[in-house]
């Protein structure tokens, strides 16, 4: 998600060429609406966007989909918003320009984290399940 249309389209097409399902949006509000309809594993989120800014979008996304991993992107590098983003649960905070290979590696690591957390939750739930006769 980024307000730079070209950037979003490039990333989406490259992800699809790797066999990954990807969707691109250009506004925070669009992202929040999109996650209501579809499940996503990882979100790439630009910090500075018109309308709802990246941190607010992150906050809303985490409320709706706490297990979706989010990687913050920034071209301007505000350190304070970096801390805020990480505190709100972002996986990483990356400065543009970032080589696609590096971004993909971050996404893979973020996805691994999601898998570990979901497995942990599944185990915890099955531990708590009462025995039935």
């Amino acid at each position: 998600m980024d307000d730079e249309v070209d950037f979003v389209e490039t990333i989406v097409s490259r992800l699809r060429s790797k066999g990954l399902e990807a969707e691109g949006v250009y506004r925070g509000k669009e992202a929040i609406d999109l996650v209501d309809d579809k499940e996503f594993d990882v979100c790439i989120l630009d910090v500075k966007m018109p309308g709802m800014d990246g941190i607010e979008t992150l906050r809303e996304l985490k409320k709706k989909k706490p297990h979706m991993e989010v990687i913050m992107l920034t071209g301007h590098g505000s350190v304070e918003s970096g801390i805020k983003g990480l505190q709100l649960g972002a996986y990483n905070y990356v400065m543009k320009p970032v080589p696609f290979a590096d971004l993909l590696q971050q996404m893979v690591q973020a996805y691994e984290r999601k898998v570990i957390e979901e497995e942990r939750m599944r185990v915890a739930e099955s531990d708590q399940a009462p025995e039935t006769r």
Partner: protein, 322 residues
């Protein structure tokens, strides 16, 4: 020879001289003997004195260490209790806060009634009630911050390239401080093994330390970020050439809500959260400082995270002491 009584011959005094001589020699010998004895005794006393002093020093040092360990143990116990209590306390406080807010809103509503609306003081009351609601919101914010300190953030462990992680954060900070002529120097261990830790949590800590370093240096300075490894431990150091931290403050900087920043700037929760996170990762943070010269924070992390419960090393020491 005359036997005149006026003439005393040597023969007459010889026996007396001999006696006197013998006595004098005897005295001297006796004195020497006593002196040697006294010197020996003094020597022994001095040796005993210094030995005892050394022993007492060692006892004092051991006592100090024991007190430190007890303090650590109490703190660890307290922290885990604080963790457990904080969530409970936070929820307990949220209830009355909610009621206060509700009652204030209800009173505002009543003030809107036709009977009271025209009363002169109604506007003042409304203003006060608005202030009450705003302060209640502030309290809720503080409670949320406390909850975030206590929240059970069980780390999600992944193998991570620590140098990569550090470099990304350093690049972020470097861009921002370039305008203040602050240099960010990297000193990264060349053969860093994969470290098993929680990357986003660790990023928070390192970023926090770096931001503190940038605040300590107003302009014209250096921040050095280094990584090293020894045995099974990875060390990440953030060192700055800033204003430093006084000895009195050094003992308190990890305390929740303690802050050296001016009132209203920063809640002082940063370092407390950092320490909590690093301890959850199985490690610890150390700090040293020279006022006016430099400050050094170092994060020490196990390369392979110990199993849950094993990082309470104070328990182990106490057990082996028994």
């Amino acid at each position: 020879m005359s036997n005149s009584p006026d003439r005393i011959s040597y023969k007459d005094v010889k026996p007396h001289v001999t006696t006197v001589l013998i006595s004098v020699v005897g005295c001297v010998l006796w004195l020497a003997d006593e002196l040697i004895f006294a010197l020996l005794a003094l020597g022994l006393a001095l040796v005993s004195f210094f030995n005892t002093k050394a022993l007492l020093n060692r006892i004092e040092k051991t006592n100090q260490q024991r007190r430190l360990l007890e303090e650590e143990f109490r703190r660890a116990q307290k922290l885990s209790t604080v963790d457990e209590l904080s969530a409970g306390i936070a929820h307990e406080i949220n209830n009355p806060l909610g009621i206060i807010a509700q009652e204030a809103q209800w009173m505002q509503h009543i003030l809107q009634s036709s009977a009271l609306r025209e009363v002169k003081e109604a506007a003042d009351c409304d203003e006060s009630l608005r202030e009450i609601t705003s302060q209640v919101d502030r309290c809720k914010e503080i409670v949320n911050k406390l909850l975030s300190l206590a929240r059970d953030l069980e780390p999600v462990i992944q193998g991570v390239d620590l140098n990569d992680l550090v470099e990304n954060i350093a690049a972020l900070v470097e861009k921002e401080v370039r305008a203040r002529n602050i240099e960010v120097v990297r000193d990264l261990y060349p053969n860093m093994p994969l470290v098993y830790t929680d990357p986003p949590l660790l990023r928070q800590v390192i970023l926090n330390l770096l931001v503190n370093a940038t605040h300590a240096i107003e302009r014209d300075g250096t921040i050095r970020i280094a990584s090293t490894v020894d045995n099974d431990c990875a060390h990440i150091t953030v060192e700055d050439t800033g204003c430093g931290i006084s000895k009195e403050d050094l003992n308190r900087i990890f305390t929740p809500f303690f802050s050296t920043k001016p009132q209203g700037k920063g809640s002082g929760l940063g370092l407390a959260i950092c320490r909590g996170i690093v301890e959850r990762l199985g490690g610890y943070i150390s700090v040293s400082s020279d006022v006016g010269k430099c400050t050094n924070f170092t994060i020490h992390l196990p390369i392979k995270r110990p199993p849950k419960g094993a990082n309470q090393h104070v328990h182990t020491t106490q057990d082996t002491d028994r």
